[in-house]
């Protein structure tokens, strides 16, 4: 097993290097002069050239491109320094903290809600294949698959915020004005619409996936054996089929844990939710090279780790998987 994990990790190294090279190339193509963006606005015209050269040297931009790349990597891996945001004039790590917290709060709600709905629905769909229940959810899944998330978000805003006036339009609770229980209530009210939007959007894929995994499990020979032994249908489904269906489903659950960190740029933009996705849009529009590239890098590393984790979990719970 340890060998399996080590092999998986080793495979990741070229992938990570590839990602970093691509992102480095993209960062070099960003419009705008990073040196000028880093210079304080108060600088006097006569000192400008000298200050420009000093800043250029400080940022390491006077070195060769290859050297710059290694310096960048060194800073990230050894010193944990992601660079300095020219837009917010703070270290990148500080800029990401607060939005990341907001995104995690939002995604935690979504993930809990969606697992609670998707698992039972997917299983029931597979068990009652071809029934009204199955077809109904199939239609739902097909429909939500075809609806852009921003349209769903806009429609929910139109119905619940504007027409009915039950929920706030968009934005965030004001932590400085509210305290204690009021703040909590405000959080809940601001979260309802984005959570509902993203849950519906992500449900479509998940229930199909779970249904197919379950159908696969139900068509196996051991299910026929279990039935012919005279076991009750409940035992067959939950003990024999579901446990085996869990192997593919585990990928979803691992994915869910890692998706906590990935912001949804579109939904967060519609609801003006100060999450990581919206920060990315702001950073791109503000031509903040370091912030944009760092965020892309963080997202990528999270993705890579998620795939690795899914592989390991797979290997742990499925005895059939052997190292080739």
């Amino acid at each position: 097993m340890i060998k399996y994990i080590i092999k998986r990790v080793v495979i990741l190294i070229p992938v990570l290097i590839g990602i970093s090279i691509i992102l480095f190339i993209v960062s070099k193509m960003m419009p705008g002069d990073p040196v000028r963006m880093m210079l304080p606005l108060t600088i006097k015209p006569e000192n400008y050239d000298a200050a420009y050269e000093t800043m250029r040297a400080r940022l390491g931009l006077d070195k060769s491109v290859v050297e710059q790349y290694f310096r960048w990597m060194y800073n990230i891996i050894i010193e944990g320094d992601l660079g300095f945001s020219a837009l917010f004039r703070r270290p990148v790590v500080e800029c990401i903290g607060e939005p990341l917290k907001n995104t995690i709060i939002l995604n935690a709600c979504i993930n809990v809600l969606y697992l609670i709905i998707a698992l039972p629905v997917g299983i029931r769909m597979a068990v009652k294949r071809g029934s009204l229940f199955d077809n109904g959810w199939q239609v739902f899944s097909l429909a939500t698959y075809s609806v852009p998330s921003f349209f769903l978000a806009l429609s929910l805003i139109f119905i619940f915020s504007i027409t009915l006036g039950w929920l706030p339009l968009s934005g965030m609770p004001n932590a400085s004005l509210l305290g204690g229980f009021d703040l909590f209530i405000s959080w809940v009210r601001h979260l309802i619409l984005p959570v509902v939007t993203l849950t519906i959007i992500s449900l479509a894929g998940a229930i199909r996936y779970i249904r197919n995994a379950m159908i696969d499990a139900l068509s196996q020979d051991y299910i026929r054996t279990a039935r012919s032994k005279g076991l009750s249908e409940k035992v067959v489904i939950y003990s024999h089929a579901f446990r085996n269906a869990l192997i593919p489903i585990s990928t979803i659950i691992v994915g869910v844990i890692f998706s906590l960190f990935a912001g949804s740029a579109i939904t967060e933009a519609v609801f003006s939710y100060h999450g990581i996705g919206r920060l990315l849009v702001t950073a791109v529009q503000g031509r903040d090279t370091m912030l944009v590239i760092s965020m892309n890098l963080i997202f990528s590393v999270i993705n890579v780790t998620a795939v690795l984790a899914a592989d390991i979990v797979y290997g742990l719970i499925d005895p059939r998987i052997k190292l080739k």
Partner: protein
């Protein structure tokens, strides 16, 4: 039975006829059916039986025809804007006069952007058209909310601004309502006081977009509304008290003085201001009448001669050549058009045709004057009956923030969105097939390297990278280059899934028994690949292409919605939705986001349905229950 026998029976015309219309089950035995039904035919027959596939197919064809044929029928001027007409709700009733006007003597008809008001000789106002305002405290009233005081009063004169109405009753009392963000619909108390002190009786009124103007019988001109307009329309002291008539454009006014000469006030440097014909100002002719569009002036002297000057846009300086300057009984001006009526009832109109202004009805009879104000034109006869109306009928799906017709933009946006999606799919599928086949065919380190490349592309999240690339590289691209670039981004970033699928299928099929059989028969490796393995892989490709086409359309919409996709003014369903981020748009201008979004949904849904049905049809397991 061999292939030849089947061909023979097929050759006979009668038997073909029989097979088409007479169902004879005994004729085809099992083996024949086996030989006749190719996998393609089987899939097709399953598809035709599937309701979902049919709905999806015909839905998609309908959208396709609507966009591609529609864009030939309704061409789009991409850079066109008409700001006066922004945010008008869907309707086609701008010209639909109520029947109650039929037997009445209409004295005057004035129009705003989406409504017209008729003043009848019994002192009543009749309104038709569509609401153009959103009621907001102290900024705007609904234009169709005619104040009760106006309904009770005997109205003798009325003028319509773009989104407001002013009128006065027979006692000289002034009324105004509608959009009044600059107080243009309300006579300010200081202006009222000056009028009262001087004892001016209003003899003529004009209303623009942000201002109103009134002329007193004593030759004084009063302007109120936006500060800019008031400052720009200051009448020089030497002209005060000498004005007998005036006509107003957007930023200039033409004044007729008591000595019959003409002066222009307002913004300097415009053709309106600079190009006044000399004979009108030096007193050599007497100006009888003057009318003005937003940027042009048409004046008539007492001898019936016409003088035309101003901006050259919209072809307003091109007076019809067959218009002989005598026997003219009426001249009037819309926002971008001049109308002239001759004594034989013929109507001449020239200027812009963006809103069908030149579309004069053929069968007009006995026209003695035409009421023109904005974009609607009403021809009236001697008895004050309206005999014809033409101009802007309305926008069937509303207009957007630049006054562009959403219907046309949806059609052309559909063309763009569907094309971007299709090209992106072609790019992505080409890369997928190439990499998938190479990887599966060669194996070894090539496979390993390509799969790591796929890992890299999979690991960088799609939307953030797409946004970044679209902004970084597409930053200073021209509109059309950006369009191609979006296709490229979508295609290049989304090949991994299908490439992996093709590779996996290739590896899977390679181990199957029929390949072994083919090999045992001595068929060449290439032949096995092309004739035996690829057809089995391609069914996956087709399903994947269909489903990813829907995905591409949605992604393009999302990217454009965030402002990183197709650049304005080229329309796409996505970028038509960009402005819907503002809550005011969501709340008040529903047609601006619901309509394009519904088209995205309809297109994606129909393609997804087709793709789903295709997958079912191609999967032999799907019929097992």
């Amino acid at each position: 039975m061999s292939n030849n026998d089947i061909k023979k029976t097929g050759k006979s015309f009668l038997s073909m006829f029989k097979r088409l219309f007479v169902r004879d089950k005994t004729e085809i035995n099992v083996l024949e059916e086996e030989a006749l039904r190719t996998p393609f035919k089987m899939v097709m027959s399953k598809l035709v039986r599937s309701k979902m596939a049919l709905i999806g197919f015909f839905g998609f064809i309908a959208i396709l025809l609507f966009s591609f044929v529609g864009s030939m029928i309704w061409p789009l001027d991409r850079t066109y804007t008409e700001l006066t007409n922004m945010n008008l709700r869907p309707s086609r009733n701008f010209l639909r006069m109520p029947r109650s006007l039929n037997n009445k003597n209409v004295v005057k008809v004035v129009s705003g952007v989406s409504f017209s008001v008729a003043l009848t000789d019994d002192g009543n106002l009749t309104m038709w058209g569509t609401e153009c305002n959103i009621a907001r405290e102290s900024i705007a009233d609904l234009i169709f909310d005619i104040p009760d005081a106006v309904k009770d009063a005997f109205i003798v004169d009325v003028e319509a601004g773009m989104r407001f109405i002013i009128c006065k009753d027979k006692d000289g009392k002034f009324y105004g309502w509608g959009h009044s963000g600059h107080d243009q619909a309300k006579l300010p108390t200081d202006v009222k006081r000056i009028m009262d002190v001087r004892g001016s009786n209003i003899v003529k009124m004009e209303a623009g977009t942000l201002w109103s103007a009134a002329l007193g019988h004593d030759g004084y001109l009063y302007v109120w509304g936006s500060r800019q307009a008031v400052n720009s329309f200051i009448v020089p002291g030497s002209l005060e008290g000498r004005i007998v008539d005036f006509a107003a454009g957007e930023s200039n006014m033409a004044l007729i003085l008591d000595d019959g000469t003409l002066r222009v006030i307002g913004a300097r440097g415009t053709e309106y201001f600079d190009n006044v014909p000399a004979e009108l100002t030096d007193g050599s002719v007497q100006v009888a009448e003057v009318v003005s569009t937003s940027r042009n002036v048409l004046a008539r002297d007492t001898n019936g001669h016409l003088y035309l000057w101003g901006s050259s846009i919209d072809g307003l300086l091109n007076m019809p050549e067959d218009l002989v300057p005598d026997k003219i009984i009426d001249i009037d001006a819309g926002y971008k058009n001049f109308v002239v009526v001759k004594d034989d009832g013929s109507v001449y109109i020239w200027g812009a045709d963006d809103l069908k202004q030149l579309n004069v009805p053929q069968n007009l009879k006995g026209v003695t004057r035409v009421f023109a104000d904005a974009f609607q034109f009403y021809a009236a006869n001697d008895n004050g009956e309206i005999v014809g109306a033409w101009g802007n009928k309305g926008y069937i799906w509303g207009s957007d923030q630049f006054g562009r017709d959403i219907f046309t933009r949806i059609i052309h946006g559909g063309r763009i969105s569907l094309t971007v999606g299709a090209v992106a799919v072609v790019i992505s599928v080409t890369i997928s097939i190439f990499i998938g086949l190479t990887s599966g065919f060669f194996g070894g380190w090539v496979d390993h390297g390509l799969m790591r490349l796929a890992d890299i592309f999979d690991s960088i999240p799609f939307l953030p990278l797409a946004i970044t690339l679209s902004y970084v590289i597409g930053f200073d691209m021209s509109e059309s280059a950006k369009l191609y670039f979006i296709m490229l981004i979508l295609g290049v970033l989304s090949w991994t899934g299908l490439a992996r699928l093709i590779r996996a299928q290739l590896l899977l099929e390679r181990e199957k028994d029929f390949v072994l059989a083919a090999r045992a028969l001595g068929i060449k490796q290439q032949g096995i690949m092309v004739r035996h393995i690829l057809p089995n892989v391609f069914s996956y490709v087709i399903v994947s292409v269909t489903l990813s086409y829907a995905g591409m359309i949605l992604t393009e919409a999302g990217l454009s919605f965030l402002g990183f996709g197709v650049k304005e003014p080229t329309p796409s369903w996505g970028n038509m939705l960009t402005s819907a981020e503002h809550s005011a748009v969501i709340a008040h201008y529903w047609w601006r986001w619901i309509i394009p979004a519904l088209f995205v949904v309809a297109a994606a849904l129909s393609i997804n349905m087709l793709g789903d049905a295709l997958r079912e049809a191609m999967d032999p397991k799907s019929e097992e229950r």
